[in-house]
C-alpha cells in the first residue's frame, strides 16, 4: 500500500476560490498520510518541503494538487516516488470564478468546494491504486539501422546515421546507388544561391557512401520480410525481383473472408484461403535463422514517375510522340541536346502544361505539387541552355508553387528572356501540320485566349510514392506487410500528421523523402536527416524501455492477464501500430518496443485484462467511484468527462486560462486517448449514480487529429454499443455522448460542456442513483 502525500498549491487564486483546510481534511480522510498546503509549491522551498516529508515519513506517492499536469513536469523528481498531478488551478479556481456580489455566491461556492474536494478524492484514490511503472528494457538491442532505398534520401539518411556513430546498411533494388538523382541532367538547387540550376549532387553522395566504413551497401536487393520489433528486427533480404519463402504473408482482405454469397467463411475455410494465398511463404511468426539484425528502419523508397494511361488526356494529345511527360523530357535532356521525338528536329519551343483540367478544373496533375512546378521551370531552362539564341519555353500554369526559398528559383528562371510564363487553362493541343503542335490556352493573363506553336508539349505529371502499389517494407506483422490506411493518404506511407513528421503507423520504421510526400532533392535530404535521428531515437528508446513519440517519457507497458483472454482479437485488430501479433489460437503476442502506450488495446478488451500499472480499469474505475454523489439533491447532478489529454484537455486548460467557465457539476478525468476508454468505466459511472458521461476526443475522419490515429473514432463506435446497453436499462442513451474538440477550440469547449449538462438536467437524475 502506497504511503501518500497530498500537497495543495494555494497560489494563483486557488486559496481564494476554495477552502484549502477543507481539502486537506478530505485528503486525510481519503487516506493521505501527509496533507499540506503551500503558497509557492513549485518553488525550491516547496520542493524541499516535499523532499523532507518523503525522507521523514517514507512517502511513496505524491499528489501535487494545483497546476495543470501539463506544467512543471520536471521540478519534482524523486527516484522511487510516484508523482501525480491534479490541475485544480485550471479546472476549479480559474474556470469557476465567483463574483462576490453575486446573490447566489454562497451556493455557488458550495458547488465549487465540492468540485475541488472530488478532485482531491480522485487524486488520492489514483495513488492508492496506481503502481510505479517499471521500464521494460530490451536486453542488448541491435543498433544497426536499415535504410531501404539508395537514392538521395536513402544515401543522406545513411550518411547521417553513420556520422552519428551507428552502423547502417542500404538496401537498393536496382544495380546502382543514386536513384532518380542520377537520371537527371541538372537539378533544383540545394542551398543558396537558389536562382539557377545546379549539377546533380548524387555522385558526390555516392563517393561519400563508398568511403564511409560504417555503411554497407547491398544493391540489386529487396526486402523479403521484416520480422520483429524496434531494437530486434530480423530482416530477410533477397535478390531483387525474385520470390522467397521469407516473403511476408498477406492477410485476407474483408472481401476474401466472404464466400460467393457474401457470407463470412468459417475459421477453417478462412485458413484454407489464407494458405492458398500465401503458398510457398512461411508464417509471419516464423523466425528466419539467417535474417540480418537491425534496430530500426528508414524507408526511403522514393517515387515512380506517373505516366498517364493510353487514351487519357485526349485534349492534350497524350499519345502523340511530341507530347511527353516531365520524366520523359528529363530523359531526353539527359541523353543530349534536345531533339524532337517525332523527327529528330531541334526542339526550339516547348510548352509546359501544369494543369490538365482545362476550364473545368484548375488542379495540377495527380501527385503533382510544388516540385512539379519547379521541375517545369528547371526543364524550361534546358531549352534555353540548348538554344540560347532562339529557344522559347512557355510555362502554362494554374498555380505557380515555389514555396520558401524556392521563390528565388522562380525569380532566377523568370529572368530568362526566353522563358514565358502565364496563368491559363490549356484547353487543346493539336498537330499544327508543320510537324509540331498548337497549344490553345484560355483565360490567360494576357487577357485573351492564345494559341502557341511549339515543337513539344511537356505534361507536369506527378510523383507516385513507391508505397502506392506495393508494401515495400514487407512486414511480417499480424496486420499485414504494408502500412495501414494507405488509401486514406493516397499511398503515401506517412501518417500524414503535421505534428509527427517521419512517423509511420509502424513504430521503428521512419519514412523520408518522396515516399512521404512529393519533395525536392533539398527537402528530401533534410527529411532524411530527420528520419535518421528518429531511427536512432527508436533504438535508444528500446534500450531504455520507454515509449517513442508522443509519450516519450512513458516507461510503462500494458500488462496482459492471459489466463482470462478469450482470443477475441479485438486488441490485435485495433492496435493502431500493429504492436500485437498473435499465435495460432489468436492469443495476443505483445511487442513492447512497437507499443506507443495509447491504451487502445485496454479500451478494446471486453475482458478487462489489459492495463498499465498506473492507468488501468481499476485505477480509473476507482477514481470514478470516489466521486461523492449526493442522491437527494436534484441541484447537484454529477457527470464524468473523459477528456483526451492531447487535445481536449489542453483546450480546457486554455479556456480556464482565458477566464472562461463552465458548469461545476461534471468531474473531468484526463485519458491518454479516447481509444483507451473501456466501456467498463461508463458502466462504473452510471452504476455509481452519475447522471451522464461526456467524452471529449479529437477530430476523426479523413483529416483526423488523433495522436493515436483512430482513438476517438473507435470510442465513437464503442459508445454506439454502450447506448444499446443503457437503453436496455431503461435510461436515455443520450446520457453518454462523444464530442470532437480540436486543441484550438478552447472557446467552444465550455459551451459544449454546458450544453451537455443542460441536456442531462433536462432528463433528470439517473434513476439508479442511490442503489
Amino acid at each position: 500500500m502506497a504511503k501518500i502525500g497530498v500537497y495543495i498549491y494555494t497560489g494563483d487564486g486557488i486559496a481564494e476560490a476554495v477552502d484549502v483546510e477543507g481539502l486537506i481534511k478530505v485528503a486525510t480522510k481519503a487516506g493521505a498520510a501527509v496533507a499540506k498546503s503551500h503558497a509557492d509549491l513549485y518553488s525550491p522551498e516547496g520542493v524541499a518541503m516535499v523532499k523532507q516529508d518523503i525522507e521523514a515519513e517514507g512517502l511513496t506517492a505524491i499528489s501535487l494538487v494545483g497546476m495543470s499536469p501539463r506544467y512543471e513536469y520536471k521540478t519534482f523528481d524523486f527516484p522511487g516516488v510516484y508523482i501525480d498531478k491534479t490541475g485544480i488551478r485550471e479546472l476549479v479556481a480559474w474556470s469557476h470564478r465567483i463574483d462576490p456580489n453575486d446573490e447566489k455566491a454562497d451556493s455557488k461556492k458550495e458547488h465549487v468546494q465540492e468540485l475541488a474536494e472530488d478532485y482531491v478524492r480522485m487524486a488520492v484514490t489514483k495513488l492508492q491504486k496506481a503502481q510505479m511503472p517499471t521500464p521494460d528494457k530490451l536486453e542488448a538491442p541491435n543498433t544497426r539501422i536499415l535504410v531501404i532505398g539508395g537514392g538521395v534520401t536513402g544515401m543522406t539518411a545513411a550518411l547521417e546515421v553513420a556520422e552519428a556513430g551507428y552502423e547502417v546498411t542500404i538496401v537498393e533494388r536496382t544495380g546502382e546507388l543514386g536513384g532518380y538523382g542520377m537520371q537527371i541532367r541538372k537539378q533544383i538547387p540545394v542551398g543558396p544561391d537558389y536562382s539557377n540550376l545546379i549539377n546533380p549532387i548524387a555522385p558526390t553522395l555516392i563517393e561519400k557512401i563508398k568511403s564511409n566504413p560504417r555503411i554497407t551497401v547491398k544493391t540489386s536487393t529487396e526486402i523479403a520480410r521484416i520480422y520483429g520489433a524496434p531494437g530486434k528486427y530480423r530482416v530477410s533480404l533477397k535478390a531483387a525481383g525474385t520470390k522467397s519463402e521469407w516473403d511476408a504473408p498477406v492477410p485476407l482482405t474483408p472481401e476474401e473472408k466472404l464466400d460467393a454469397n457474401g457470407k463470412e467463411l468459417s475459421a477453417e475455410d478462412q485458413k484454407k484461403v489464407y494458405a492458398a494465398k500465401n503458398e510457398g511463404r512461411n508464417d509471419y511468426m516464423v523466425e528466419d535463422p539467417n535474417a540480418e539484425l537491425f534496430g530500426a528502419v528508414i524507408l526511403a523508397a522514393g517515387w515512380k514517375p506517373a505516366i498517364p494511361a493510353e487514351g487519357e488526356y485526349p485534349h492534350l494529345a497524350w499519345g502523340n510522340p511530341n507530347v511527353l511527360t516531365n520524366h520523359q523530357f528529363e530523359q531526353l535532356a539527359k541523353s543530349g541536346k534536345l531533339k524532337r521525338p517525332s523527327d529528330g528536329k531541334e526542339i526550339k519551343t516547348v510548352a509546359f502544361v501544369q494543369s490538365p483540367g482545362g476550364l473545368n478544373d484548375d488542379a495540377d496533375f495527380p501527385y503533382a505539387s510544388a516540385v512539379t512546378t519547379m521541375v517545369s521551370l528547371k526543364q524550361a531552362k534546358y531549352v534555353r541552355e540548348d538554344y540560347p539564341e532562339d529557344g522559347k519555353a512557355y510555362v502554362l500554369y494554374q498555380h505557380m508553387r515555389t514555396p520558401g526559398q524556392y521563390e528565388y528559383f522562380y525569380k532566377g528562371l523568370q529572368d530568362d528572356p526566353g522563358i514565358f510564363l502565364t496563368k491559363g487553362a490549356v484547353t487543346a493541343v493539336k498537330e499544327n501540320g508543320k510537324g509540331g503542335l498548337t497549344v490553345t490556352v484560355e483565360k490567360t493573363l494576357l487577357g485573351d485566349n492564345i494559341a502557341l506553336d511549339v515543337d513539344v508539349v511537356v505534361l507536369a505529371t506527378g510523383m507516385l510514392p513507391a508505397t502506392k502499389d506495393e508494401a515495400v517494407v514487407n512486414l511480417a506483422y499480424r496486420q499485414g506487410p504494408a502500412f495501414r490506411d494507405l488509401d486514406l493518404f493516397g499511398g503515401y506511407c506517412d501518417s500524414n500528421f503535421i505534428c509527427f513528421p517521419y512517423e509511420t503507423r509502424r513504430t521503428g520504421i521512419y519514412a523520408a523523402g518522396p515516399v512521404r510526400r512529393t519533395m525536392t532533392i533539398e527537402e528530401s535530404m533534410e527529411d532524411a536527416a530527420g528520419a535518421a535521428l528518429k531511427a536512432i531515437q527508436a533504438v535508444k528508446a528500446a534500450e531504455e524501455g520507454h515509449a517513442v513519440h508522443p509519450r516519450t517519457w512513458d516507461f510503462d507497458y500494458p500488462d496482459f492477464y492471459f489466463q482470462r483472454c478469450t482470443q477475441c482479437k479485438r486488441c490485435t485488430e485495433e492496435c493502431p501500430f500493429g504492436a500485437l501479433d498473435d499465435d495460432e489460437k489468436g492469443t495476443p503476442k505483445p511487442n513492447p518496443t512497437r507499443c506507443r502506450r495509447c491504451g487502445t488495446c485496454m479500451g478494446a478488451c471486453p475482458e478487462r485484462i489489459i492495463g498499465f500499472k498506473d492507468y488501468n480499469i481499476d485505477v480509473v474505475g476507482s477514481m470514478i467511484k470516489s466521486i461523492e454523489v449526493p442522491d437527494d439533491d436534484e441541484e447537484k447532478l454529477r457527470m464524468v468527462i473523459f477528456a483526451c489529454e492531447n487535445d481536449a484537455y489542453p483546450a480546457l486548460d486554455m479556456a480556464a486560462a482565458k477566464g472562461l467557465s463552465w458548469s461545476p457539476l461534471p468531474r473531468i478525468i484526463p485519458v491518454r486517448c479516447l481509444g483507451s476508454v473501456n466501456v467498463a468505466w461508463i458502466k462504473d459511472a452510471m452504476s455509481s449514480g452519475m447522471d451522464g458521461v461526456l467524452l471529449l476526443g479529437c477530430k476523426f475522419g479523413d483529416d483526423y487529429q488523433c495522436h493515436f490515429v483512430k482513438g476517438s473514432e473507435l470510442a465513437d463506435r464503442r459508445m454506439a454499443n454502450v447506448a444499446e446497453t443503457i437503453k436496455s436499462l431503461g435510461m436515455e442513451p443520450e446520457r453518454v455522448k462523444l464530442v470532437q474538440i480540436a486543441i484550438d477550440e478552447y472557446d467552444k469547449v465550455p459551451g459544449v460542456i454546458d450544453a451537455f449538462v443542460e441536456e442531462i438536467v433536462g432528463m433528470g437524475p439517473n434513476p439508479f442513483k442511490g442503489f
Binding site: K411, N449, I450
Partner: protein, 413 residues
Amino acid sequence: MGEQQQMQPDLSFVKGVMASGGETVKKCYQCATCSVVCPLSTNDSPFPRKEMLWTQWGLAGRVSGDVDVWLCHQCGDCTKHCPRDARPGDVLAAIRINAIRYYAKPKALADVFNSPGGVVGAVIAAAVLVLIVAAVWSQVTGNAFPFPLNHEGKVEYHEFLSVIPIDAMVLPIVAWIIYVSYNGVSRFWNDISKGAGLPESFTGTYPKPSIGLLLSKYLGPAVMEILSHSRFKKCGQTAERARGHLLLLWSFIILFAVTNYVFIAEDLFHAALGLISKVTPLPLYHPVKLAANVGGIMLIAGILMVKSMRTQKTEEGVLTSAAPDWVLIWLIFAVGATGIGAEVLRLINIAPIAYPVYVLHLATIIVLFLSLPYGKFGHLIYRTTAYVFQRWADDVKAGKAGFGLEKAVGASH
C-alpha cells in the same frame, strides 16, 4: 472556345528592351501594384502592368500599338512600390527608346544617336561639314579663312558663314527630319489606332482627324497641357523633374522664336528679298537679342536642373538612366554652352577660339535636331502625338468624333 490569337513571341524584342535599360522586365509577376500606384494611369486603360507582361512575352506589335507607353513620364512611383524590383518605370523608358528606333528610318541612325560615341562622331562629322562649307564659302566671298574679321577688325560670324550657305546646309537637313518624323508619326498613329481598337475600314486604314479638326479641337488642348506640364507635375516620386523640364521647354520655344525672327528678317527679307538692310549681329539691347540671351540662359539652367534631378532620382533609386538619357542631356547642354560661348567670345573678340566654338555650336544644333526622329529627343514628337491621340481616340470611342459615329462636331460642318 472563344476567339484565340496566335502568339509569336519575339525574343529579340525582349532582349532589345532588356539591353536598353529594361533588364528588369522579366521580374514582373503581375501583381499590378504599379498600375494602382501610377498617378498618370487611367481607369479605362491602366498601365504599366500590361506593358510589362506584353514585353515579357515579346509582343512587339502590341507594345508598339500602345499609346499608354507615351503617357508615362517615368515618375518612378511604380518602380518605388514594385515588390519584385521589376522597375516598370525604367522598362517603359526602355520601351520608348525601342519604339523610337522602331519608327526611325534608317534604323542604323537610331543606334548612332542613342550612343555617346555615335553622337560625338556625329558632332565631329557635322563640324567637318560646317568647316568645308565655310571654306568653300570663303572662296566665294574672298574672306579670310578660318578666322575672318569684319571691317572693324572684330569677330563676326557672318564673315565666316552667311545665311546663304547656312540655309543651304540646314534646310535639306530640316526637310529630312520632317520627312522621317512625319513617316514615323503616321505609322505610330496607325499602330496606336489599331491598338486602341478604333474602327478599322475595309481597306485596313484607321480614322484620322482632318487637319482642321486636329488643330482646332485636339492639338490646342494637348499643347496647352504640355506647355503647363500639368500631367508631368502629377508624378509622385519625381514631380520635381517637371520644373527643370518646363524651363527647358520654354527656352526651346523662345530660342525657336528668335531663330525664326532671324531667319525671316535676315535670310528672307534681307538676303533673299533685299527688302531691308542687314540685321545681324543684333545689338545687345535689341529685344530679340535680349530674348535670345534669356532663352540661352534658361536652356542652360533648365538642362542643369534636369541633369541634377535625374542624378538625384537615380541615386534615390526611383529611376535608372540609360545612355540615351545622358546623350540628350549633354547634347542640349553642349548646344547652350557653345551658343553662349560663341557670343561671349565674339564680344571679347578672340577669333582663334570664337570660330571653333561657333562651328561646334552649329554642329551640335544640327546633331540635336537630326536626332529628333532617332534619339530620345523624339519624345517631343511622339509624346505630343500621344497626347493628341488620346483626346481624339476618347472622342471616337465615345462616338463624338465623326465617321458616322460623330454627332456634335459633324453637325457644325
